[in-house]
């Protein structure tokens, strides 16, 4: 039983807290390995339980799906820990480890209370990762935290209501008849970057440091995908949410100038694909969502490492300031292109063998419109991330920037992830064998490969033909957050000036009234007032004599 007290997530949280004390950063690399060994040695099933009043808390419960997500979380933590060895900000690394530890704990939790606790630790520690970026990260961090605390509160309302009405805290497929299921769903969707709260991703992630953004890209949204798979597979409403996110991501990324924001919009786009798959909910669709999450975490981290290296070396992030780096940063360029090909689902890369499962699911369910939309979106992914990112950063024009490839550890991390993108793409069997359901699908057929190549290469042609329309400008694009960043401020200011004026006149009139009263009181009762002043003894005696005299006269004549 002693070995079963080891929890792969909690142990990572504890390790993370000690990171500020560790001098040799290579030791940090051992933590994900230790957590992996613990997880690997545990069998599937419920392992750690606690009694909590009438309820049972399940701290550690493993199945195929949670194992898949935990493995990929650990893998990417390991790669990013290598990438960030030269990141001197220890609070970032430390909070990143606690953040990842709590993500794994969410995935491995079996009840809603445990899930909620680690969900909130994730929100707080990821905010610290954002704040570790620079002075400019303060406000994006506050906005990020506000959105997540709002999501957390909605989630908590849902959990309490659900537990009260159903009498159970166990986390599994949520009952569609219970109103509180939808509160929980809303809480989950906010973390997934669903509308109207998509903007926290492109707002907050790019304001973290060159390594912080890589840490952030993998965990919050993908933990949300995991809980959606468990709780809401087959909820058709999610298909619409996902489609919105897919096209929102593409359109906003096309308009964006900052390379890390482009890649953040593309996170929303990719999570949209996964949420569509969760909404379809069939076995192949769930395999699609989970394998897509797995491969997406790798290639998105790779893309952000490539962008992070450019930022680390040149200090620039805007497409308008970049270009021509293929000469000076060749390795960063090659790794970036491998990531870009993977996200576009080129044959022989990891994206091809994972996203195809979701697209195939629409074929099996005979969802023609959805298939057409997803195919259009696949072309759009190549357009907004697959070509746009490498083209504007590494080619485009010669921006005459002095640069070189980043330090050894950063190069190593990028090579590791590039190799994984290709290996998974070439040998899909390994990933397919750890998916939640059996895979009968064969991605490499002649017609599938030729269709995909046609789709992507002609998207490439469209990109170069439309290049002058895609030229970047020094602009940002308004989003739903306008409502709380600008409109909200306007409303507050309006209230401020209007109400303030009203209150001021009110206070003034109360003040006037008070002064008047006191003045008149003062006039008659003050030290010199008629009724208040002190009189001399002589006049007192005189007045008393007069009064007594009057009294006597009155008595005599009455």
């Amino acid at each position: 039983m002693t070995s079963s007290l080891l929890h792969p997530g909690i142990i990572l949280i504890l390790f993370g807290l000690f990171i500020p004390l560790i001098k040799n950063r290579l030791i940090v690399l051992l933590f994900p390995i230790a957590s992996f060994i613990i997880l690997f040695s545990l069998d599937n099933g419920t392992i750690i339980k606690l009694d909590y009043g009438n309820y049972e808390l399940i701290l550690l419960s493993i199945d195929k799906l949670s194992r898949l997500f935990s493995y990929i979380f650990l893998l990417i933590l390991f790669a990013t820990a290598i990438f960030s060895i030269n990141q001197d900000n220890k609070s970032e690394i430390s909070s990143a480890f606690v953040y990842v530890g709590s993500s794994i704990s969410v995935v491995l939790s079996g009840d809603l209370i445990t899930l909620f606790i680690f969900w909130e630790i994730m929100a707080i520690t990821s905010t610290i990762v954002i704040w570790s970026g620079s002075k400019q990260s303060y406000y994006p961090g506050i906005r990020y935290l506000a959105v997540h605390l709002l999501g957390g509160s909605i989630l908590l309302i849902g959990i309490i209501g659900y537990a009260n009405t159903t009498g159970t805290l166990t986390f599994g497929l949520m009952s569609p008849d219970n109103i509180f299921s939808y509160f929980v769903l809303a809480g989950f969707l906010i973390n997934a970057g669903a509308p109207p709260f998509s903007s926290w991703i492109p707002d907050a992630y790019p304001s973290a440091s060159w390594s912080g953004t890589v840490f952030l890209s993998a965990f919050t949204t993908k933990t949300a995908v995991y809980v959606l798979i468990v709780g809401y597979a087959g909820y058709q409403f999610l298909i619409y949410v996902g489609i919105f996110m897919i096209f929102y991501g593409i359109i906003f990324a096309i308009l964006e100038n900052d390379m890390r924001r482009i890649l953040s919009y593309s996170i929303v786009n990719q999570v949209g694909f996964m949420i569509v798959a969760v909404g379809i909910g069939t076995e192949i669709a769930i395999n699609g969502a989970s394998s897509h999450a797995f491969t997406h975490i790798i290639y998105k981290a790779l893309l952000l490492m490539s962008a992070g290296s450019v930022f680390y070396i040149t200090g620039r992030t805007k497409c308008t300031d970049l270009g021509g780096l293929y000469k000076t940063m060749p390795l960063t360029m090659i790794c970036g292109i491998i990531g870009a090909l993977s996200i576009s689902a080129f044959p022989l890369t990891s994206g091809f063998i994972s996203k195809s499962l979701t697209v195939q699911a629409t074929v099996y369910e005979e969802l023609k419109i959805l298939w057409l939309l997803l195919t259009m979106a696949s072309a759009g992914v190549f357009l907004h991330a697959g070509i746009k990112f490498p083209w504007f950063v590494f080619f485009q024009k010669d921006a005459k920037i002095k640069a070189e490839d980043p330090p050894k550890n950063m190069r190593l991390a990028m090579i590791l992830l590039s190799a994984l993108c290709i290996l998974i793409g070439v040998f899909p069997g390994a990933l397919y064998s750890i998916l939640p359901y059996d895979v009968k699908y064969i991605p490499y057929t002649l017609d599938h490969v030729s269709s995909q190549l046609q789709l992507l290469m002609f998207s490439g042609l469209a990109f170069f033909i439309l290049l002058k329309y895609l030229k970047r400008t020094l602009t940002i694009t308004l989003d739903f957050d306008w409502f709380w960043r600008k409109f909200g401020v306007l409303v507050v200011n309006l209230f401020d000036t209007y109400l303030l004026k009203k209150t001021q006149t009110l206070i003034q009139s109360i003040d006037n009234l008070g002064t008047q009263t006191i003045r008149s009181l003062h006039k008659y009762n003050g030290p010199s007032g008629m009724l208040g002043r002190s009189w001399s003894t002589g006049s007192m005696a005189l007045w008393t004599a007069i009064l007594l005299g009057l009294f006597l006269l009155f008595y005599l004549f009455a």
Binding site: Y139, I250, I251, F252, I254, L255, V363, E366, K368, W371, L372, T375, M376, A379, G380, L383, F395, L446, D447, S450, S451, Q452, L453, Q454, L455, L456, M457, F458, S459, G460, L461, A462, F463, L466, Y469, L470, T473, L474, T475, I476, T477, L478, D479, R485, K486
Partner: protein, 73 residues
């Protein structure tokens, strides 16, 4: 890059595009919904999709684009 290199890259790119476009003559693609059985459907659909998406985003950009310092704090 040299202009001659760019020219060579364009020529090879167009050559690949031509091969892919006409690969439908030799490769029998499964059609699931009818419309996708159309000759070189992925090529045409991919190309038109991208043009459509770029113009939609341009149109949206007219209303939603703002200077970078719009939200200065």
């Amino acid at each position: 890059m040299l202009n001659s290199t760019i020219k060579k890259l364009w020529i090879s790119f167009l050559f690949i595009l031509a091969i892919l476009f006409f690969s439908d003559l030799v490769i029998h693609r499964h059609d699931y919904f009818g419309v996708d059985g159309f000759f070189a459907f992925p090529s045409i659909y991919g190309f038109l999709s991208c043009i459509f998406l770029v113009f939609v985003s341009k149109a949206i950009g007219i209303f939603l684009k703002r200077p970078e310092d719009y939200y200065d704090e």
